[in-house]
């Protein structure tokens, strides 16, 4: 009875939230740095809830464009972070695009 109600409650959205929470618990246990933890949790989130490839690419290009501006005003650390974010969204865009094409073929 209880099992049934749990299964009914576990629709796809809720399962995704649980999985993301698990991802966060895992990196906390492994004592990763804040930046690496955020990237990992976001990665899992975008894997489960894909965003549009074009949106991911837009974010990637904008952050990449801002990065040299920051370098000009000698904010090196922040520029590095932005470059990492840019690369991260590039990877997300690539993965979603591959998945999209694969599902279209099927």
């Amino acid at each position: 009875m209880i099992l049934k109600s749990i299964i009914r409650y576990l629709n796809r959205d809720n399962v995704n939230i649980v999985v993301v929470a698990l991802a966060y618990a895992l990196v906390s246990y492994l004592n990763w740095t804040p930046m690496a933890s955020i990237f990992f949790v976001l990665f899992i989130w975008f894997l489960l809830n894909p965003i549009k490839t074009s949106d991911a690419l837009k974010i990637s290009i904008i952050t990449l464009a801002v990065s040299p501006l920051l370098l000009m005003v000698k904010r090196r650390t922040n520029a590095e972070y932005l470059a990492q974010i840019s690369f991260f969204f590039l990877v997300i865009a690539l993965i979603t695009e591959i998945r999209f094409r694969k599902s279209r073929v099927e």
Binding site: V15, V19, L22, A23, L26, V27, L30, N31, W32, T33, A36, F40, I44, L47, L48, R76, T77
Partner: protein, 526 residues
């Protein structure tokens, strides 16, 4: 049953992404430990001194800088304290140029201007930032430190000559860097000053005249020139003397010998010396100060007020009339006595040839600090005590006074002849209460008997440190101790003695090296 499996497979097919996520979780769990970035540097709470370098660096007239690579890893807004010991050895050419009509004249006082070096921090990508500039005045070893704030990711420290035309040689050692737990400049004023007890030299003695009165050659076999002196401080740190190489200077080892003297009028200089230090003519460049003046390091703890006899001898060297060492001798005003042995007879006269260098212990509020140790305030109520042996003869000055301790130049270890009732004892005073500490030391391998290493927090109850059962380092002793809340102490005693072995009565000789002790301190309690 079959339907159920089909249903399961179908469900999996439509939820492949969860399988991929599961696979990622497993991989991260198994291998994710390697992705921890900057772990060593994230918090300055660990008591292990990872960021200290025992290497000795020098800048001479051939080079203008040197870099200590990967000594730290900073982020924006971090505060660091850079610590080092520096000394300047004047260039020989400069002193030779100081000639007048009477011949070359040596300047035994300081240089005519302070020698400047600047320190720069470097990042992996080649960014540079100057953090400070120091003026080294005088020729003694001195401790320097300063605090700086970083604006990005840096990893190397570079020491550079300020004036590239300076010919002097700078020797920099004990380079260390520690991250402070502060976030603004206002907190800098709250830090207490660093208490260091790096072994320093006494000043160069004032010589009666600028040039020695005459020279004595160590040309025939087993000859020595020596000096009788009374110990005025706790330690002997070396000797100043004027010497000249005749021909090639002889072949083999010259020795500096130390004898304990009970009867001033009857010194048996043929007996085995109490302690000796061997050196060769090829080492002379290392010891040269300027002109004919040399400083030879020779460390030994002394008993204040006792008389000693220090001599230089050619007992283990092969010399003759055209290849030998001649020692400068001065007229003495203050009744120093010089003995030297000719082929068959001893001479006794009032003059001086060897000038012993004395070192003293450092004190803080009346408490004696452990030699070569450092107590620093890291901010936020945290502090650190750090001691590590330097693999140099001055390591012998760290243990408590012990007649059976020595330093082995060849294996670079503190040695100890320990009969059953004797032990090599160390006492570390951290001034502030200890929160946790870690101790590491290694025993030289080979024919030595196994050591028993014990530590105590009060000097009465002792706890033995187990020998690590590690095949790679069979003679490593290591222990980390967490202090409980209600127990406060600021002293650690370490005692090393040969393990009682019923089958081995003769060999009680131990050699200890890589001794390191780091402690986290509570700076608020005192």
């Amino acid at each position: 049953m079959k339907i159920r499996i089909e249903y399961l497979l179908n469900a999996l097919k439509h939820n492949q992404i969860y399988l991929i996520v599961l696979l990622m979780f497993i991989l991260v769990f198994l291998y994710g430990k390697n992705i921890i970035i900057d772990e060593d540097n994230s918090k300055p709470t660990e008591c292990i001194a990872v960021n200290d370098s025992n290497e000795i660096f020098s800048i001479d007239n051939q080079s203008t800088y040197f870099a200590v690579k990967n000594i730290f890893n900073s982020s924006e807004g971090d505060y660091y304290r850079l610590k080092f010991v520096a000394e300047v050895t004047p260039d020989i050419r400069r002193s030779v140029s100081n000639t007048n009509e009477k011949g070359p004249e040596y300047q035994y006082v300081n240089m005519d201007y302070p020698y400047k070096i600047e320190t720069i921090i470097n990042s992996q990508s080649g960014e540079q930032k100057k953090i400070g500039e120091i003026s080294i005045e005088g020729m003694e070893r001195k401790y320097y430190e300063y605090i700086f704030k970083t604006d990005g990711n840096y990893s190397d420290v570079v020491f550079r000559k300020f004036n590239v035309n300076d010919l002097e040689k700078v020797i920099i050692s004990n380079v260390g860097i520690s991250r402070l737990d502060i976030s603004s400049d206002t907190q800098l004023g709250e830090l207490t000053s660093t208490k260091q007890s790096i072994v320093m030299d006494s000043e160069i003695p004032e010589l009666p005249n600028n040039n020695p009165m005459r020279h004595v050659s160590l040309s025939t076999g087993n000859q020595q020139v020596g000096q009788l002196f009374e110990a005025s401080e706790d330690y002997l740190g070396g000797v100043y003397l004027s010497m000249n190489m005749v021909g090639n200077g002889g072949v083999g080892d010259y020795t500096l010998n130390l004898y304990m003297v009970s009867d001033e009028n009857n010194i048996n200089i043929l007996a085995e010396p109490f302690r000796s230090f061997r050196f060769q003519t090829s080492d002379f460049d290392k010891f040269n100060l300027r002109g004919d003046l040399y400083k030879i390091p020779f460390f030994f703890p002394l008993e204040k007020g006792k008389k000693y006899y220090l001599s230089i001898s050619n007992r283990s060297a092969v010399t003759n009339r055209s290849n030998n060492l001649s020692i400068g001798i001065w007229d003495s005003k203050d009744q120093n006595v010089l003995y030297y042995k000719g082929k068959d007879k001893n001479y006794l006269e009032e003059s001086s040839a060897l000038f012993p260098i004395f070192l003293n212990s450092q004190y803080y509020n009346g408490e004696k600090l452990t030699n070569n140790s450092l107590i620093e305030d890291l901010g936020g109520g945290k502090g650190r005590f750090h001691f590590s042996s330097l693999s140099q003869p001055s390591d012998l000055l760290v243990p408590e006074y012990n007649l059976y301790a020595g330093y082995d130049q060849y294996i670079k270890a503190v040695t100890f002849w320990g009969e059953k009732k004797y032990s090599l004892d160390y006492k570390f005073n951290t001034i502030y209460p200890i929160k946790r500490f870690r101790l590491n030391l290694k025993q030289a391998m080979g024919l030595y008997p196994k050591a028993t290493v014990k530590f105590s927090l009060d000097g009465t109850t002792w706890q033995e440190i187990e020998n690590q059962k590690d095949a790679a380092a069979p003679y490593l002793f290591s222990q980390t101790v967490e202090m409980s809340e209600n127990k406060t102490t600021s002293e650690i005693y370490v005692s090393i003695s040969p393990k009682d072995d019923p089958n081995d009565f003769a060999n009680k000789y131990l050699a200890i090296y890589d001794f390191e002790l780091g402690a986290d301190l509570d700076m608020e309690k005192k």
